[in-house]
């Protein structure tokens, strides 16, 4: 059964235009400021790619613990994984541009630099590409398998699919733990190849997870307002709000942990990262990121009534989505440009990828029934009660 797209033709063309403009900006940028263009592309692609894979993590967690309440809107995170192949393609583009983006990718750099020389066994382009290929194919394979089972259940209603997905989800969580760690080290942390932080993958996960929760909540509430998910009620919103609130605190905890350990030890090769990110305007961006990811959503969502109120929930989720962009901006851009200044390429490239994400989401969401009608847990979700 195929439903109509959720986007009206106007919104669809806006997304297409954004994607085309973004691509054009990226291509022009490759000529004029290749490093900045690639960094902007890395930011946008990481933003949506990690969103897509953590959407699968959300599904896997619910499958594993046998949570019934989110079944009603499970098709939302399922459709969000549709960006995975596009993100993989994006990583291919970044592989081609890696010489402009990653300092360690230069042969000459490793020859004259003792630290890079010592790391060359791990940080070299062929191995990096193999790892990226393995990571992305694993993510796509698990997403495909889990979603396929979910959709087959729509047809035959067999409980076997639920059991199969439980096993797949368990395997995926282990695979995800390893692959996500490698992905955040390879794609983002290696922008500063002299620097390392054992907290970094955790911090990255904290940011990605609160982001995916906020996006799921946002999309579900918006779709509910458009008339979908008739049984979606204040208790679903309450639980989503608790999730966003809790993981916003979790992100802040990790954000601070990484800083505290480096600040305490005060070892030059570690502090260099924060010295750069607390000067030349970056401190303001850091504080903005802390506000958008943690302070504002926590303050908005601390009361029960505000978690249940869809306007407040939307505001908090939008704040987290912006905050995630700022968070990645502070991780990536200082390594590329010294001072905190918005480049004309930053926004068009990001919005272009956002257009791609929305189009892919819409297509995937329209290709299956909006609610997994024959899921054995659906009843629980329809009568979800606190």
């Amino acid at each position: 059964m195929t439903r109509r797209s959720l986007l009206d033709p106007q919104a669809r063309s806006v997304c297409t235009v954004l994607a085309v403009l973004g691509a054009a900006a990226f291509l022009i940028g490759l000529k004029l400021a290749p490093q900045r263009a690639l960094a902007g592309f890395l930011l946008g692609n990481t933003y949506f790619l990690m969103l897509a894979v953590t959407a699968l993590v959300f599904i896997a967690i619910q499958n594993l613990v046998g949570a019934g309440w989110p079944v009603l809107f499970r098709r939302v995170p399922e459709a969000m994984t549709a960006y995975l192949p596009a993100g993989a393609l994006g990583m291919l583009v970044l592989l081609l541009g890696s010489h402009s983006l990653y300092h360690w990718a230069h042969h000459a750099a490793a020859v004259h630099d003792q630290i890079l020389h010592a790391k060359a066994g791990y940080l070299n382009l062929p191995f990096w590409a193999v790892r990226a290929a393995a990571i992305l194919s694993l993510w796509m394979a698990f997403a495909r398998a889990i979603i396929k089972n979910s959709r087959r259940q729509d047809v035959d209603g067999s409980v076997a699919h639920t059991h199969k997905n439980k096993r797949l989800s368990a395997a995926f969580m282990v695979v995800f733990g390893v692959t996500f760690t490698l992905a955040s080290i390879d794609w983002i942390m290696s922008l500063e190849p002299h620097w390392y932080s054992t907290m970094f993958p955790w911090y990255m996960f904290g940011g990605a997870f609160v982001h995916v929760l906020a996006t799921i909540a946002l999309l579900t509430v918006l779709l509910h307002r458009r008339g979908l998910f008739a049984e979606f009620n204040e208790h679903h919103r309450h639980d989503l709000g608790k999730y966003v609130f809790g993981f916003g605190v979790f992100w802040a905890y990790l954000w601070f942990c990484q800083f505290l350990l480096i600040w305490y030890a005060n070892i030059p090769e570690e502090t260099a990262y924060y010295v750069l990110r607390s000067s030349r305007g970056w401190m303001a961006v850091q504080m903005l990121s802390l506000t958008a990811n943690f302070l504002l959503p926590s303050a908005l969502l601390i009361r029960i009534l505000s978690k249940k109120d869809d306007k407040t929930l939307i505001a908090a989720c939008v704040s987290v989505c912006l905050g995630r962009g700022l968070d990645l901006y502070v991780m990536i851009m200082p390594s590329i440009s010294g001072a905190a200044r918005l480049h004309w390429l930053d926004l068009p490239i990001f919005l272009g990828l956002a257009g791609v994400f929305v189009l892919l989401f819409d297509r995937a969401f329209a290709s299956a029934p909006a609610v997994p009608e024959k899921d054995p847990y659906l009843v629980e979700s329809l009568h979800h009660h606190g």
């Binding site: 601070f256 800083f259 505290l260 600040w263 305490y264 005060n266 601390i302 009361r303 029960i304 009660h385 606190g386």
Partner: protein, 171 residues
């Protein structure tokens, strides 16, 4: 028309929840429900007002935070300044973990203590209700201010396995 306090004893959470909802619809005065585990939806069925405990928790957390920060600043700036690893005396990041822990401790322990004190649940309190199984596998609903016969019939109708009168009323 005699009205006393009666306890309906139920076998399952579904039954007691259904009875509570029915009683609420009929406008009966539900005094309380006693269940061995939290029953989802019971707070609405009893139409309990929102608890002020969360506000107490916020206030306690805020005082814990204030106390932890001011104490640490007082020690490291005025009372006993020490040079630790060349850090400045007002090394705020170092104070955050302790400030966080004290906030959580004061808010957590304080909220439980507040509950125990204000609901009169401190150790040594005499148990006002003595229906066997209330902490084991039975679900109790306490209703008063309803004519005896009507109340008994109501309980039976909703599947109560037993109806007991509370002598001298609850409390």
């Amino acid at each position: 028309m005699a009205t006393k306090t009666f306890v309906g004893v139920f076998d399952s959470d579904h039954a007691v929840l259904a009875a509570a909802r029915a009683a609420h619809r009929r406008g009966m005065n539900i005094r309380d429900a006693y269940t061995p585990f939290p029953v989802h939806g019971m707070d609405e069925a009893l139409s309990l007002p929102p608890s002020w405990l969360s506000r107490a928790c916020l206030a306690l957390g805020a005082s814990g935070l204030t106390f932890a920060l001011s104490f640490q600043y007082w020690v490291s700036l005025f009372n006993w300044p020490m040079n630790i690893g060349g850090k400045p005396f007002d090394a705020s990041p170092a104070l955050i973990p302790i400030a966080f822990e004290i906030t959580v401790l004061v808010a957590g322990v304080g909220t439980v203590a507040t509950l125990l004190v204000f609901r009169n649940l401190l150790p040594g309190r005499r148990a006002p209700l003595t229906a066997l199984g209330a902490t084991d596998d039975k679900f109790l609903l306490v209703i008063d201010d309803v004519p005896d016969q009507e109340l008994k019939a109501f309980f039976k109708e909703h599947g109560a396995v037993d109806v007991k009168e509370v002598l001298g009323g609850a409390k």
